[in-house]
């Protein structure tokens, strides 16, 4: 089995040790970083398949890493708490998902493996946060950003269903569910970008 090249970024060495131990032999940790800038430098040097990045790091944190390198590699955010507002920003900035740090070892390994192969790592809580964000957008713009099917899929994820269960319930392939989720993420990126542009225009920033 081909191994996945990983960059681990967290300002706590104890945590990096823990994750590395959990990853096992299918992952190859090519570099570790303690700050956002170190992580960006490591990504530029090693071109990893996957970046596991702490949301809260000195000097910019995970959001800076996602914003800078989100298009070059797959970034999964690690966070202590799902209560953090930054989570949505991190995903909007280009992370493919996030995991809470208390995720048990085997589950973490499995989720990171899937993320490295292009599957968005979506927890029910993140889906719930996203649904709220899209409802907010719909209220402020008067237009529904998601298609009915996308909303349905996202709601299933928020309720705790796996992609497989969603596929079975909607009579579609798992891969189709995955594509819907990817499109939803794309719409979040896009709407955030448009919001920024609108904000800049309204405030006369070139």
């Amino acid at each position: 089995m081909a191994s996945v090249k990983v960059v681990l970024a967290d300002d706590h060495p104890i945590w990096r040790d823990g994750v590395r131990a959990d990853l096992g032999e299918n992952f190859w940790v090519v570099a570790e970083a303690g700050t956002a800038d170190e992580a960006i430098a490591a990504i530029r040097t090693h071109h990893p398949d996957l970046v596991v990045c702490d949301l809260n790091m000195p000097a910019g944190g995970g959001i800076k890493v996602a914003r800078t390198c989100g298009e070059e590699t797959r970034i999964v955010m690690l966070t202590v708490s799902e209560q953090e507002r930054d989570l949505l920003d991190a995903v909007a900035a280009g992370a493919v998902g996030y995991l809470v740090k208390s995720t048990p070892g085997p589950e973490l390994r499995d989720a990171l493996w899937r993320a490295a192969h292009g599957e968005p790592v979506f927890s029910p809580t993140l889906a719930g946060l996203l649904l709220g964000e899209f409802r907010r957008m719909a209220r402020s713009t008067g237009a529904q950003p998601l298609s009915d099917r996308e909303r349905e899929v996202l709601q299933f994820v928020a309720r705790g269903h796996t992609y497989k269960e969603i596929g079975a319930a909607l009579f579609i392939a798992d891969k189709t569910v995955e594509n819907h989720v990817r499109n939803i993420l794309g719409k979040l990126h896009l709407s955030r970008k448009q919001e920024l542009i609108r904000y800049a225009l309204e405030h006369g920033i070139d």
Binding site: E82, E84, L108, L131, A158, R159, G160
Partner: protein, 385 residues
């Protein structure tokens, strides 16, 4: 901040003294006892210089009785001897006199050091000294206007002292609050970065399930505490410690929007985790429509029962509770588990499901939908209009 108030006062003292010196030079021909005026001006200069030096070396000394009283005494002497230094009847002429402004510094300094009452009292005292000075000057207080003028001085001094003392008190309280808030933030950040992370690592890496559970409980409580400090948690999160069985501590935070419902569901999730050792995540949307207490009680009761059933009957390891507003202004709540599931057609509904879930929801005008298959977990969906 106190330092900048004292700095302002020092600048005021110097300005007032220069004004006094200018008045002295301009009105030198009106002086009957110029040597007395010069001695007084030098005494005021001495106080001004000493206070300026103290500000640089030992600012706290400026708030002690010694320097404050010294300044007030010199100020009182200035006012009193005003009438002596100048010729008779100077008091009510329009020309300026020595001790008009500089003594105010003493009143203000006293008010900053000892509060509004002290400021007001010393203001009244110096005002009365002004009356005495007028009498010493030999000026007759024979018209209403003159009485009014003197009263005016007394009131002005007293108000200046009281107002300064009051504002200084406010500033001091605000500063205390700011530094307390900053200290709390510092503690929260340190705990968040260090202890919380470590607990999470322990929880994840412990091979002993009791240790892992202990770490999880501690992490949950610490997180609730930290988010309470930060002044309001987000609407999401897993498990609020049940206020009742933890030394009576009230639930630390209630997410905005989630309100009582969010707190009740997190409490139910914590009960499940404590009883069955699994994990329950609760996500309550922030933009729920306002719910009456009956609706909250029905939803929280029914969903709480479903969460406990997941552990009791389904032996679930993972439970997800999700609440969102529906398009038609109602509320949707789902409780899904990864437990054993059952065949809803073949299994007669138990007491829990029949009464605690369906009964509660029907009474509140809502409905219930149950999906379960052996080996595929159970999902209970609840709607309230």
């Amino acid at each position: 901040m106190e330092r900048s108030v004292l700095q302002g006062l020092a600048a005021f003292r110097w300005g007032a003294w220069l004004w006094m010196a200018a008045v002295l030079v301009v009105s030198r021909h009106d002086l009957e006892r110029p040597e007395l005026a010069v001695v007084l001006a030098l005494a005021a200069l001495a106080v001004t210089v000493v206070d300026t030096v103290l500000l640089r070396t030992d600012p706290a000394a400026l708030l002690r009785p010694g320097p404050v009283l010294a300044e007030l005494v010199v100020g009182a002497a200035l006012i009193l001897c005003d009438g002596w230094a100048y010729g008779p009847n100077h008091a009510f002429t329009t020309s300026q006199s020595l001790g008009s402004v500089w003594p105010l510094a003493g009143i203000i300094g006293g008010a900053v050091a000892f509060g509004p009452l002290f400021g007001a009292v010393s203001g009244v005292a110096l005002g009365l000294v002004r009356v005495a000075s007028t009498i010493v000057n030999g000026a007759a207080i024979d018209t209403g206007g003159k009485v009014l003028s003197l009263t005016n001085t007394v009131v002005f001094y007293a108000l200046a002292g009281a107002a300064t003392g009051y504002v200084a008190g406010l500033l001091r309280r605000a500063e205390r609050q700011i530094s307390a808030a900053r200290a709390r933030e510092e503690v929260a950040r340190t705990l968040h970065d260090g202890v919380l992370q470590t607990l999470t690592v322990v929880e994840r890496r412990a091979t002993d399930p009791v240790l892992a559970r202990l770490a999880r409980e501690q992490e949950r409580e610490l997180r609730e505490y930290l988010f309470g400090l930060a002044g309001g948690a987000g609407a999401t999160g897993e498990g609020l410690p049940d206020g009742g069985d933890r030394g009576g501590r009230a639930p630390a935070t209630v997410g905005p929007g989630g309100g009582d419902l969010g707190a009740a569901l997190r409490a139910a999730a914590a009960r499940y985790e404590d009883a069955f050792g699994g994990r329950a995540d609760v996500m309550v949307a922030e933009d729920l429509p306002p719910l009456g207490t009956d609706a909250v009680a029905a939803l929280a009761g029914a969903a709480g029962e479903a969460v406990m059933n997941a552990g009791k009957h389904g032996r679930a390891r993972r439970v997800t509770v999700y609440v969102e507003p529906t398009d038609d202004g109602g509320v949707f709540c789902s409780v899904k588990d990864d437990g054993g599931g059952f065949d809803p057609v073949a299994t007669p509904p138990g007491q829990g499901l029949a009464r605690s879930i369906r009964g509660r929801m029907h009474e509140a005008g809502g409905r219930v939908d149950l999906t379960s298959r052996p080996g595929a977990g159970t999902e209970v969906c609840l709607w309230l209009p």
